[in-house]
């Protein structure tokens, strides 16, 4: 391999794409898109019912047990409507003068029937609040009737929260939100999945374009086919690396400013919500887990190795085809190997230390997705990481060898679409 020429090829493959608007836009817009589909709905839910909409409920309580307590605890939500006619209240609900009617009585207190809420529109979140508030006064009333000491009452009202710590390789424990870690692992695995497909398709199209535009013959009269192929694979791989590193940095920045920004945006209403909600509600409706440097590094290593494995195959597919419509048949087996780990993902993520998870994450073609998942949710022993990397490197040599041999024949073959048997023959050509 002529390194000077390889460098020239890598530089062209990298720069010719990095300079395009498409690259700039996808680098900037992808995170915006992810924010749009994940964070925005959460923010909207959090805001729901805060402004504009009437959020007042009429309490009809002929037992006299609930109404006063509800109004005393949540004066801005409930008012006493015992002396009003139900039909006229219903009209008010229809006219959206009030949000709804809460119907309570002795049977509710006794636990024989469930409290009834009559409403027209309103989000699940508000109804959830109403349910929680009725529940609270119901418990209060019973506890008082039992004449329990305030201490006992407090014990009964107490809700247990989990404080989770993850044991890491170095032996230190670090407080971490398990759900957030889970979410992060999913996002990272999904990112690898998208990268394998996305950059793989770029490679394939680019090889196909060089073949159909016939420039490939000019280039391989100057360099070896494998140099062109590797230059392309590495150039586009670096492009992906730049994109991923940019996103990581962006994300890390966001995790730092997210909490203050959230309070700034939601301001008082957010604060009010927090005091209203009992202990089960988190401080923010979403928690951004921090990315550890070691995880980022391993993530990038797995991306790069996985990318080289798959992109060399995509290059071979591009070289074997004559037109984009030809590639489907050859894409299929490659796609299967990318999709299988996505199917196994949830099983591996929920039980990351099972034999099943360990074995599947060591399969070289699955490692990029499944190992990144496991690394996100559990402390993977270093030897498993090392072994998977060694296996992937071995796989890269094998796949590169096969791909290069198909490629060097394929790029000069025009006309009939080759069969798998013919591809096997190409590999064996001298």
């Amino acid at each position: 391999m002529n390194l000077a020429k390889l460098k020239i090829i890598i530089a062209r493959e990298f720069m010719s794409r990095a300079k395009t608007k498409a690259f700039l836009l996808s680098t900037i817009l992808t995170p915006l898109f992810i924010v749009a589909v994940t964070v925005v709905p959460i923010l909207i839910t959090a805001w729901d019912g805060d402004d504009e909409k009437v959020n007042v409920y009429a309490v009809v309580d002929d037992s006299g047990i609930f109404a006063d307590r509800l109004i005393q605890n949540y004066p801005e939500r409930y008012f006493n409507a015992n002396d009003m006619i139900l039909d006229s209240l219903k009209k008010d609900v229809m006219a959206e003068n009030i949000a709804g009617i809460v119907v309570l009585n002795q049977a509710v207190y006794d636990g024989d029937v469930e409290p009834e809420v009559i409403y027209t529109t309103g989000g699940i979140s508000v109804l959830g609040d109403v349910r929680r508030e009725i529940n609270k006064v119901w418990v209060d009333a019973h506890l008082e009737a039992e004449n329990l000491s305030p201490h006992l009452q407090e014990l009964i009202r107490k809700r247990i929260e989990l404080k989770t710590s993850k044991l890491t390789e170095t032996g230190t424990t670090k407080e971490e939100n398990q759900f957030a870690a889970f979410g992060l692992a999913y996002v990272m695995a999904f990112t690898i999945y998208m990268a394998l497909f996305g950059y793989g398709a770029i490679i394939m199209r680019s090889v196909l374009e060089e073949k159909t535009s016939r420039i490939v013959e000019v280039i391989i009269s100057s360099v070896k086919p494998i140099e062109l192929m590797m230059g392309k694979v590495l150039g586009v791989g670096m492009l992906g690396l730049v994109q991923l590193v940019f996103w990581m940095v962006l994300y890390s920045g966001i995790t730092i400013i997210a909490a203050p920004l959230y309070l700034l945006i939601l301001g008082k209403s957010g604060g009010a919500m927090m005091t209203q909600m009992p202990a089960e509600a988190p401080q923010m409706p979403f928690v951004l887990p921090e990315l550890e440097i070691s995880y980022i590094v391993l993530f990038l290593v797995y991306y790069l190795l996985g990318y080289i494995m798959y992109s060399s195959l995509f290059a071979a597919v591009g070289s074997a085809a004559d037109a984009e419509s030809d590639v489907q048949q050859f894409m299929f087996p490659i796609m299967i190997f990318i999709i299988i780990p996505m199917i196994l993902l949830s099983k591996v993520a929920t039980d990351p230390n099972s034999t099943f998870a360990i074995i599947t994450s060591l399969v070289p073609l699955f490692s990029p997705i499944l190992m990144v998942t496991r690394l996100g949710v559990t402390a993977v022993p270093w030897w498993e990481v090392g072994l998977s990397i060694v296996l992937m490197v071995g796989m890269i040599f094998l796949l590169l060898w096969i791909a290069a041999r198909i490629y060097r024949v394929g790029i000069l073959m025009y006309g009939k679409k080759p069969s798998y048997k013919e591809l096997a023959k190409w590999i064996m050509y001298k």
């Binding site: 013959e217 000019v218 100057s222």
Partner: protein, 305 residues
């Protein structure tokens, strides 16, 4: 020692033999024509000289060295199927391709600049290739082929797609390269160009070289076995002639190739009987005629065998 020496080269693709026992030499300051019908093995041979593919047996040497990455640098190759990066700017593209031939970035820039001037194409530097006309793209492709100042130039159908003015310019440049001592390989179907430009030829058919050597010698060896007949009147007598092949026939002209046993005087008699003869001349066959007759004879032999 010749610059390019091809000796007993074979190339097979599966069961198909693309090139069989081919040998020839090409020398500096000469233009070597590679002729033959489609699929005769020309491109396969050229690819092997370019080290794009390797022969199954036999050897190819460039200046005494076996073809390799190193010898690739000495060659400028213009493939029959042209191709450039459509979305890349002309200047960047030429610079890139010259660097792949081993030129330093600075040298590449200088050479590309020189040739863009020579072809009056300097103003296209910032344009994408897809914005250029076909003829312009041809010129750029030609510059890409020679910008690293190769000792050997291999042109596969260099004139296709060029208008007469640009064809003339290209011909001029090729003859200049010859005068500078380059070894030039020239593959084409257009015999009049070969006749105008080539010093040596080899004719391919079915993977073999069926005719080769100095062009003038080859023509001489065919003798004066062709009649150029100019006449006035009804040319239907031409259809009755036996043992001849008629090329270039028109209302008042025919180029008549005499085959085994045909007598030029019989033709003259037949002509006088029916038309007014304006010119009757015995000449050497055109290269076109040599091409057709040699290939047909070879095909007949192949069919018998």
């Amino acid at each position: 020692m010749s610059v390019i020496e091809v000796s007993s080269v074979e190339k097979r693709y599966g069961n198909f033999t693309a090139v069989s026992n081919v040998s020839f030499q090409a020398n500096p300051s000469r233009i070597f024509g590679i002729l033959g019908p489609n699929g005769a093995g020309k491109t396969s041979t050229i690819r092997m000289i370019n080290n794009i593919t390797a022969p199954d047996s036999g050897s190819i040497t460039i200046k005494g060295k076996h073809v390799s990455e190193e010898t690739q640098q000495l060659i400028g190759y213009l493939p029959e199927e042209r191709g450039l990066y459509k979305k890349m700017k002309v200047g960047e593209q030429l610079h890139y391709l010259a660097q792949l031939k081993g030129l330093s970035s600075k040298q590449a820039k200088e050479n590309v600049g020189f040739w863009l001037d020579r072809f009056e194409a300097s103003s296209w530097v910032g344009k994408e290739v897809s914005d250029l006309s076909k003829g312009m793209q041809q010129k750029i492709q030609f510059i890409a082929t020679i910008s690293h100042d190769p000792e050997i130039c291999i042109f596969d159908e260099p004139f296709s797609g060029l208008d007469p003015i640009n064809s003339e310019l290209l011909k001029e440049v090729i003859l200049e390269l010859k005068a500078k001592g380059k070894t030039i390989l020239f593959a084409t179907h257009r015999m009049e160009q070969v006749e105008q430009m080539c010093d040596d030829i080899c004719l391919f058919n079915n993977g073999k070289v069926i005719l080769g050597g100095e062009l003038s010698g080859i023509k001489k060896s065919f003798g004066r076995n062709t009649v150029n007949l100019e006449f006035k009147g009804d040319g239907s007598f031409l259809d009755k002639l036996e043992n001849v092949r008629i090329n270039n026939r028109s209302n008042n002209f025919a180029e008549i190739r005499l085959l085994d046993g045909a007598d030029s005087q019989e033709i003259l008699k037949a002509a006088i009987n029916q038309v007014e003869v304006l010119t009757f001349e015995l000449v050497q066959p055109t290269l076109n005629e040599i091409f057709i007759s040699t290939v047909q004879e070879d095909n007949k032999k192949g069919a018998k065998a």
